[in-house]
Symmetry: C2
Subunit: 147 residues, 2 copies
């Protein structure tokens, strides 16, 4: 990976591929992914830019690894555990280990954000029927999530 | 550190202190630092926002740990080894291990950027007289650096 990824406008970077949200996932066409850094020199992180199209959303999931999110474009809402927060440009969100979460572009504009994770990370887990029932027990969460 | 650091405008974040560039360094009053994430849950990184005032600069230094820089505000120039590159919003720069580098706000505007490093990192090294002479042997670099 080159030493400079130049931003070429409109949240695209030179020599950085526009990838699907998740490998092999055809359900999430409203989300794109660009890998801006894959770490090196002993810094075990991957820095990605995700963009959720207006009214789109990420998958409802949890994992052991921490996410650090920095919103760059537009805005929306983030579910993290039982909390739903509005987010806009330059807000920084930590999604803690083991927390059900979902990001939604609820403002009629894209939700674009940097997302920082460990290079060596566990696979996200989707809720099973029992876990989903548990998640939806909270009326505010039930009104928000798109399972 | 809270799960949400809300941006409260003008590149300041709620509940995030505005710190001097370096602990105990009174020479660098033109640079500020805010710690946005100190890692956790097994992600060994620190995410900082630095801002260099117009015409200011970071120290000329090198270290073993990698920097990943994402420009957020204004622009300027970055020396990395013998390369000097112009940078502006959303450009991503990797400063490799062991590379002399300096960032300067050369556009008459601030240069504000996210900087990502390992939590456990070595202390930066400043050039001694011999190393400085070596660095300044390149005329373009000599015209640029502020030792």
């Amino acid at each position: 990976m080159a030493d400079l990824q130049r931003h070429r406008g409109n949240f695209r970077w030179e020599s950085v591929d526009l990838l699907p949200y998740k490998e092999g996932d055809s359900d999430s066409c409203s989300v794109t992914r660009q890998i801006l850094s894959d770490g090196r020199d002993g810094l075990p992180v991957q820095l990605r830019y995700f963009e959720i199209a207006p009214d789109g959303h990420s998958t409802l999931e949890r994992h052991r690894h921490l996410h650090i999110v920095v919103v760059l474009r537009g805005g929306g809402q983030v579910l993290s555990g039982s909390e739903i927060v509005d987010v806009g440009p330059l807000d920084v969100v930590h999604i803690p280990s083991g927390t059900w979460h979902q990001l939604q572009a609820t403002r009629g504009e894209p939700l674009g954000f940097l997302c920082l994770v460990h290079r060596e990370r566990d696979r996200p887990e989707r809720p099973g029927p029992q876990e989903l029932a548990q998640i939806l027990r909270d009326p505010a969460v039930a009104a928000f999530v798109r399972p």
